[in-house]
Symmetry: C2
Subunit: 196 residues, 2 copies
DNA sequence: CGAATGACAGATATTGAAATCTGTCATCGG
DNA sequence: CCGATGACAGATTTCAATATCTGTCATTCG
């Protein structure tokens, strides 16, 4: 079956995810990926120049899913302040569910993130853009005050201020009971800062 | 010389720091500490029940230094808003200087922190208390508005919101050029949120 | 012809035997 | 008597030999 399908980058990425999930980042090899696909490892190198490039592509795909999952919250028809809280809450809930539901997978993901800081950087910029749009809308609606410098800077500040609630580096803290209160307090602080 | 002085917990802690500095957290052994002090390793165990307890004590000492260094900023005679910015800036500068000046030592420190999360937790509570006092003073002075819930919660929110600028987990980002702007933006956000 | 293969060199990881370390405690010496 | 010692058992780490992996490329196969 599998042998009859053409070997695409997409199929390789799926197999790589599977292998990473099963063996973890330290033991997942290109040979393993080839084995899952029933091809020689040389064939994998036709689609990805190096193992690092393959991992980077997996990381990108993984992060892309977050962007997609959040888009509905960024484009919700609510007032900007509620939209911002909704978006931040969704981001936190998403990460928290992932971290809590499968800690090993989260650890794997964290290793990949550490290896591909430039990909992460670009991902963060996407997220900050989504925030910036909400803040800009909020100003136009009169819900938020004019930004101190510009929308991008303010959005980045909001992103940084909520860092503890979306950066996987803090995943270990997300299991504690008082994290909800801490999150609510930071959201409240942020809203106060932005409101007109 | 060394043999004539009595063996105290204090001297053992100094030797342990020395050994951690020199060999790093992975290779520093109790035997090394004893060698530096010119005693048998059994003597070290008279003062610290386990190697873990010894490392914990070093961590505590290390964190205590931050508290002491920040006290002047917490008790400065300025208005509360300036005092808060001064304190947060001092905290960031302190950590940043440490991380930038000796990255290896910082890495060592980070390992110790990871091993002793309860000590870190207590340390954070001390820092949050210092913030809480400033926020409380600010409210009394009329510089800051009444807290949403209570001083402790607000102070914790300020601490969490500035996490990216004091948590060693983010030390790698502190070398980038735009970190100053990001810091200024979060400070500005925080001040806006608190001001009356 | 173009995609897939597998042999290969150099780099990296695994393994198990040997060395070192942790923590205890009976004994020593001032 | 009381702090310091060093031998010891079990746990952990190191080291070097062995195996596996990464990335290339001449060759094969459809």
């Amino acid at each position: 079956m599998a042998a009859t399908e053409t070997l695409t980058a997409e199929r390789i990425l799926e197999a790589t995810e599977e292998v990473l999930r099963r063996y973890g980042p330290a033991k997942a090899t290109v040979v393993d990926v080839a084995r899952v696909l029933g091809v020689s490892h040389g064939s994998v190198y036709r689609h990805f120049r190096t193992k690092a490039a393959l991992r980077e592509a997996v990381t990108e795909r993984w992060l892309e899913r977050t962007i997609v999952a959040l888009r509905p919250y960024a484009e919700a028809p609510d007032a900007a302040d509620e939209r911002l809280t909704g978006w931040l809450t969704a981001l936190f809930a998403l990460k928290r569910r992932k971290a809590g539901g499968d800690p090993e997978l989260m650890a794997t993901f964290q290793v990949l993130i550490g290896e591909n800081s430039d990909v992460v950087h670009r991902h963060e910029e996407h997220l900050v853009e989504q925030i910036a749009r909400i803040v800009e809308d909020g100003h136009r609606e009169g819900v938020f005050a004019a930004p101190e410098r510009d929308y991008a800077t303010t959005a980045r500040a909001v992103f940084d201020a909520t860092d503890r609630f979306h950066d996987p580096a803090h995943a270990a803290d997300w299991a504690t009971t008082d994290i909800e209160d801490a999150f609510a307090a930071v959201i409240s602080l942020t809203q106060r800062a932005l409101r007109a």
